[in-house]
């Protein structure tokens, strides 16, 4: 087992934060306040979540898991929907996509007996899936605005040649989904070689043998990969339609001017 980290040791971590703050001050980066605030906020959030998880783990699994998943999906929805401001129904659509993908992945885990329906297993693993879906959706929406803005003339060219919105968008959809998936594809290529992934690291620190730890890591890595690709695909296929009207015309979206 790893030794327990004492409160005194935790307090000494303040020195880790003082280094970037000092560097920011010396090089006039203007980040000192931001570093201090982010560090403090991160610590407070983690302390609170530690107590919250302890409480949720003590509840019957269905209640504890449902509450936490709902919170996670809602927060992820609000965060991801910032990137999609200007689109209609953006929050509702993102909520349904994240929740749907999470439920699918959870069903696979439980259906294939990979994990137990216990809060201490479902919640941390779901958190990783939901978090990565949120990032992929944000990337897809950002990229979509960029592509429709930059590629407007090509879309008009395709429409003018007789293409339907779906056919014309094919030119961009591939690029959007690819852009949203690239961080994960790259991460999978070097997984374990450059850095040991978080879940595996945690299990090893907790005393689980590495060969056992990698099993969980493989499950979570492939689950994340699936959820990221599904989220990016769903979001792209749903949202591109908002750039067209039913007369196969490109509509002017305010947010495309801003990106």
């Amino acid at each position: 087992m790893a030794p327990e980290i004492s409160n005194a040791s935790m307090f000494l971590l303040i020195f880790f934060v003082l280094i970037p703050i000092s560097l920011s001050y010396i090089y006039a980066l203007g980040l000192s306040r931001s570093i201090a605030w982010s560090s403090l906020r991160g610590v407070v959030q983690l302390v609170l979540i530690g107590y919250l998880l302890t409480y949720l783990f003590s509840l019957p699994p269905v209640i504890g898991i449902s509450i936490m998943l709902m919170v996670m999906v809602t927060v992820a929805t609000f965060h991801a929907s910032k990137k999609g401001s200007g689109f209609p129904y953006v929050r509702s659509i993102i909520f349904v996509v994240i929740a749907g993908v999470e439920l699918l992945v959870l069903a696979m885990w439980l259906g294939f007996d990979m994990i137990e329906f216990a809060p201490d297993q479902v919640i941390p693993m779901s958190g990783m899936v939901i978090g990565n879906s949120m990032v992929a959706i944000g990337l897809a929406l950002e990229r979509m605005k960029h592509e429709f803005n930059e590629g407007k003339d090509r879309i008009i060219a395709a429409l003018s040649l007789g293409a339907s919105p779906k056919q014309a968008s094919q030119l961009l959809i591939r690029k959007i989904v690819k852009a949203a998936m690239i961080p994960n594809v790259d991460g999978l290529k070097t997984i374990g070689l450059v850095q040991l992934p978080g879940m595996m690291t945690g299990l090893i620190l907790g005393g689980v043998p590495p060969v056992e730890a990698i099993r969980y890591q493989i499950v979570i890595s492939l689950s994340i990969f699936t959820s990221v690709s599904l989220s990016a695909m769903f979001i792209t296929v749903i949202f591109y339609r908002f750039y067209f009207n039913d007369r196969w015309q490109l509509v002017k979206r305010k947010e495309t001017q801003e990106s």
């Binding site: 060219a157 429409l159 007789g162 196969w248 015309q249």
Partner: protein
């Protein structure tokens, strides 16, 4: 005789009360300052935009009655920017016909021939092309759909004199052979307007300021605005 295109009191976001009719076999020059509404008018003609008021007829039939894909293949647009798709020249040329399964492998060579590009260009990636070559590929891409009407938005602006002559010659042939029934040609080159269109429309601030036979309105403009524009 029914007009080929009849624009009846059309107004849109950028255009006001446009009246314009052309007969079959006509090339119409659209001239005027930037932002005057020339490109917007082209967008209305193949329904990339719709008017807020008024109606556009093709041979007496409202263009809104024609199925959209068919209308846009029939009224081909070549934009000011070449806006080529990623990939090879052939990928671009076959885009339109492939939508209806009408692409044949021999078509690519014929289309390149029509815009005086070597046949070896078929497999060339569009990133490797010069500005003028891109413009010619965009023109050939529109021709691939065998349009009945052509909407040309400054299609020769990036070409050298020899290639301008070649494209103009091709446009004449298309009209004379009746493969194309009519053309609307936006140009900033007054000498090109004199060479090409029998009819000229001068647009400014979203309105038609003056229109008539090219020779007549370019040599004896009536309005101050056109006189000023021709001086500039």
């Amino acid at each position: 005789m029914v007009d080929l295109i009849d624009v009846q009191a059309v107004s849109s976001e950028r255009l006001t009360n446009i009246h314009l009719s052309i007969e079959e076999g006509t090339i119409v020059n659209l001239i005027g300052p930037s932002g005057g509404g020339k490109s917007s008018l082209l967008m209305l003609l193949n329904r990339l935009e719709d008017p807020l008021e008024g109606e556009i007829l093709y041979k007496g039939e409202p263009i809104t009655n024609i199925e959209l894909g068919k209308l846009r293949r029939m009224i081909g647009l070549v934009q000011q920017t070449a806006a080529l798709f990623e990939g090879t020249v052939e990928d671009n040329l076959k885009y339109g016909p492939s939508l209806t399964g009408a692409w044949g492998s021999a078509m690519g060579r014929d289309l390149l021939d029509q815009v005086s590009l070597p046949q070896t260009y078929l497999q060339k990636y569009v990133d490797e092309l010069s500005g003028g070559e891109k413009q010619r590929v965009a023109f050939a891409r529109a021709l691939a759909n065998k349009p009945r009407i052509l909407l040309l938005d400054e299609v020769t602006s990036a070409l050298d004199v020899r290639n301008v002559e070649c494209i103009e010659q091709r446009l004449y042939e298309l009209i004379e052979s009746k493969k194309v029934e009519g053309m609307f040609m936006v140009t900033h080159d007054i000498s090109q307007a004199k060479r090409m269109g029998s009819h000229t429309v001068f647009m400014s601030e979203g309105k038609i300021v003056e229109q008539g036979e090219t020779k007549e309105i370019l040599t004896h403009p009536e309005t101050t605005r056109l006189k000023q524009f021709l001086k500039e």
